[in-house]
Amino acid sequence: MTAKWLRTGYLYLLILPTFAFILLFAYYPSASAIYHAFFQWNGTNIKEFVGLDNFQRILFDDSDFPRAVLNMTFFLLGNILLQVPTLLLALVLYHLRRPRLQYFYRTLFVLPMVVPGMVGMLLWKFFYNPHVGLLNRFLARIGVIEAPWLGPTWLADTSLALPSVIFMGFPWLNTIALLIYLAALQRISADLIDAAHIDGAPTLARIWYVELPMVLGQIKLIFILSVIGAIQDYGRILIMTDGGPGISTLVPGLLMYHRAFRYSHMGYASAIGVLMFLVILGLTVLNIRYFKTHDEESRQAA
């Protein structure tokens, strides 16, 4: 009996470090964020309970918030749209007949992952530089504009800044998604492909009726990841424009960052964080349900 207790106690001891870490550095902050969303709080000495006041002010009184949500919606739509090239590329790569060539191009497309994301962003920031950047020099060279400095100012232009940040990173290759699609395509059984061949199905029909349905699960996964990413990632915008000019590229995440670290409105910013968390949580739950029913259907079918 004692021996058994000792053994079980030992097991708890082995998992203790993990739980100590997440309790202090993950659970406690999450609870603190939700708790402080109901306070006027500067992070240190000023702390006063204000009920739902923060939420009310964000949703109804903050003139920056509606614009931030609108911008986020554009980022979200852009993010979804820009997943299409990766899927098309995966299909082309999958249809290459020579395995060595396939391996070669796959390696080539994985290569950019080696470069830190920050370098990619800073390079694009340089491309958009109106005086010396790549884009305006290129436009000048092909004769669209007379000189680089006479071209558009991109990130500094109120109406161009948002599309410039959304569409940076041409040709929008998502390496991880490419590998996931490719792996899923390569798992399609040879029988299925042969059957389609024997039926004489043309390539486009094969793609539409055989290959795309087989990667539908992966497409959904990438879709939901890009939606959640668009809602919560604001690092790219912070680097490229810091929400400007004015508030033309501001998004809720960046608004939270500004309120917290430039104005020390920690309670107000926590409330923005809680709102974003609720939206993401809702999407995640929807996503889990959606996937589950899909799994069960396929199990029943099998």
Partner: protein, 272 residues
């Protein structure tokens, strides 16, 4: 028929080549500029031309070396600490039944659904209280906590795939928990651990917001590069040389481990 399919094959190769070229253009321009002085930079950036200004690389190295050093140190500590803890936890969860097992595991996994935006502010306040702002520990402690969740999740399902008989045989020979973990579970999961190491290193290399908030005096690569770009926004040659040098350590890591990584992602072991 043969002719048509050859033509289709050529078309595919053309599409892939053009796309690959477009993907690589930014890095080509980066390399090209990294060899230029200001006059050459103003004249042309599309291809490198002599004289090559190698001294840009000396200046770039001087600027980015501290950031690279910091990042390697942080990545090493985070990888070592988090993988030690998470592999033990994953092993316990995959092998043994004990009271509270399901609840504890659920409590861990639910954290995968908590987005970083919710925690950013209280984590900063916590770092302030602990006195770790502007030190290496402000990065390491929080990263270790964050990385463990995913690591436990992935490692547990990997450990579960190891045949039970292997562990039982070892147990018959008198091996205890830790011994079985150390001489069976770990050696059999080298490749997946390799993938997790790469993922953590890439994460530390790329993370920007948390260092910006908490590590002004201990800048890692991403924050350091954005900081440098603001400070020296006209020394393009040296800046681009710095970008190049800051990318090299990951290139070296990938040269060794790219295969594991691609296989890991492709085998579906890592879903996100």
């Amino acid at each position: 028929m043969a002719l048509r399919s050859t033509r289709a094959e050529v078309a595919k190769v053309v599409v892939l080549t053009v796309t690959a070229a477009a993907v690589l253009v930014p890095f080509w321009v980066m390399l090209s500029i990294s060899f230029k002085d200001q006059r050459q930079f103003l004249r042309n950036i599309f291809y490198p031309a002599p004289p090559f200004h190698w001294e840009n690389y000396a200046a770039g190295w001087e600027a980015v070396a501290p950031y690279v050093g910091n990042t390697i140190l942080v990545a090493f500590l985070v990888t070592a600490i988090s993988l030690t803890c998470s592999s033990l936890t994953a092993y316990v969860f995959s092998r043994y039944d004990f009271p509270g097992r399901r609840a504890l595991f659920a409590a861990l996994i639910v954290l995968l659904m908590i987005p970083g935006v919710l925690n950013l502010i209280p984590q900063y306040v916590l770092a302030l209280k602990l006195g770790v702002v502007n030190t290496i520990w402000g990065l390491v402690l929080f990263y270790v906590a964050g990385r463990q969740v995913l690591e436990v999740y992935i490692l547990r399902s990997f450990f579960q795939g190891i045949p039970r008989e292997l562990f039982e045989a070892a147990q018959m020979d008198g091996a205890g928990h830790v011994r079985q973990y150390w001489s069976i579970a770990l050696p059999l999961s080298k490749s997946i651990i390799g993938v997790l190491v790469i993922m953590t290193v890439i994460f530390v290399w790329n993370d920007f917001i948390w260092p910006l908030v908490v590590a002004d005096d201990f800048k890692t690569v991403s924050y350091g590069l954005s900081f440098l770009t603001k400070q020296h926004s006209t020394a393009w040659g040296a800046l681009m040389a710095g970008y190049t040098l800051a990318s090299l350590p990951l290139l070296v890591l990938f040269a060794f481990a790219m295969r594991y990584f691609v296989e890991g992602v492709s085998s579906g072991a890592i879903k996100a």
